[in-house]
Amino acid sequence: MSVAICVETLTKKYKDVIAVNDISFTVKQGHCFGLLGPNGAGKTTTIEIMEGIIAATSGSVTYVKGENQNKEVDSSISQQIGIQFQHTALQDFLTVKETLKLFSSFYQHTLAQDKIIELCDLSDFLNRDNRLLSGGQRQRLLLALALINDPEIIFLDEPTTGLDPHARRNFWQLIKNIKAQNKTIILTTHYMDEAEQLCDDIVIMDQGKIIESGTPHQLLSKHFSDVYIYLPEQQVPVELVKENQWSVQSGRVAITSSNVEKTLAMLMENKISLAGLHVKSANLDDLFLHLTGHSLRE
């Protein structure tokens, strides 16, 4: 898989604060690349430098393909990339259709309006005033604006923050559809389920630095070999809990195991009912907690 963007020794300082501290990574063509980290980790600053919106204090961002091939990023990249910001308002009193038309006029090459309406599922509220859109509708419109110039590379900065679970899942499906078109997506999020669903590669940031990178599967395999098995407390004899030093949490016995088959066989030998059994692997939230000692959503 070829490289689309190369970020080298990037640093951004604001007066006394170092928002991004000497980070390097590459984004592969056609991949969904996730920048993960808690609020204030430096994710938004990093992607805004990659978008050419703000300038780096030092280091470089290079687009390997396209018209800006092997040139350092500047504002001229805007014709070739799509951006969905974390916080942005739209012009009041314009309808969704008029907003699409306005943004279409900014680019030399654009997707047909019908196609973008279908891709982002906008047809039900096309003539609605921007001020009257729900959170999910608004995010779909912002995604449509990011896609309007048919970009090869799309930046999505916390696109599902504030959405309800149903709207989030709908939005994930839209992103999967875009990914299926071999577009490169750079996504920041602090929702680990979102990263696990969408990202091929991830970089975890904290306090401006990269603390880990790789595929989600690689990182979890590297740091966790155990799985967690939960059973209702009343089904497990107290002597067995004490003997194996299992813990009891919220009415459930929590069993940490490096070999699921062996543990389940042992439970069945002791004639313990497996009704209500729950098996859970470590997720990226656990990984972040493991790496930093604090949760991703703090």
């Binding site: 919106i53 805007s78 942005t88 308002a89 739209l90 012009q91 009193f93 943004f103 900014f106 680019y107």
Partner: protein, 340 residues
Amino acid sequence: MNIKRFFAVFKARNIEFFRDKSSLGWNLFFPVLLLVGFSFIFSGDGRSAYKVGIVDVTATSQINDEKTPFNNIRFIDYIHYDNADIAKSKLSRHTIDLVIEPATRLYWVNEESAKSYLVEKIFSSQLNGYNRLQTSGKKIRYVDWVLPGILGMNMMFSCLFGVGYVIVRYRKNAVLKRLKATPLSAFEFVSAQLLSRLFIVMFMSIVVYSGCNLLFDFFMLGSYFDLIVIGMLGAFCLISLGLLVASRSKSEELIGGLLNLTSWPMMMLSGVWFSLEGAPPALKSFADFLPLTHLVAGARKIITEGATLSDISFHITSLIVMSIIFLSLGAYFFSWNTER
């Protein structure tokens, strides 16, 4: 400059303005209400002091001239003229309230002015033995005199707040940041905002003038074309000032204060409500640095004196020079999303 991008932003801003019914209503009805109010409720002048012109070809500008018996009445401004025609012309345009020529024992009143009537009554004993005359020519009512001021003031608020406040709001809620992420240039964006507001302001002013003209049948000696030219130059200059004030800030509170700081001196000192005739020279000089002064004075000369564009070239030049300065500084300081 990409015309397609420029026109798209121009159109979007116009749609935004015309669909905002509360703002549109305010822009339409505020000047009408003021004109109606001043015409019918106060039925005359809004000035706080009376101004009397003393014609004396031999006199100096000394106000407390021993030869005149009129200096013992307080709260009256005495303005000396060495030419009776100039003084009478100012009386007919409501710039002053009474003209007295002690040498010929004549005085003139403006029958259309309530203040002229009152000053004549105040001076009744001093004017005993003087011959009473009226200003000649077509009568100018106070509403004719105040019309350019009210329209100019409305244009000023629309230009300053309609551009300055909107840009700061766009910057604060990241509309500007989103636009910056497109190929739209700052020049295209700013030009579209400027011309959109110019179109809106001229459209609204023409609608208000035409509508009120049906009601008041305004006095008009000059050319409507000249009036539109000075109106456009004035609006352009005020929009440029709005752009400069809003060039960097993200704070709506700060911009509100700055725009008030900019607009209030103009409202008080640019001849909107009362003439600066007889005001201290320093105040007059200060007023000359305010764009609204030149817009109102130019428009008033066209309306009440039939002046041509060459007659008001000083006002036109002043507006053009100020526009260039404001636009240059605004372009230099303009930022999409940072605070100074």
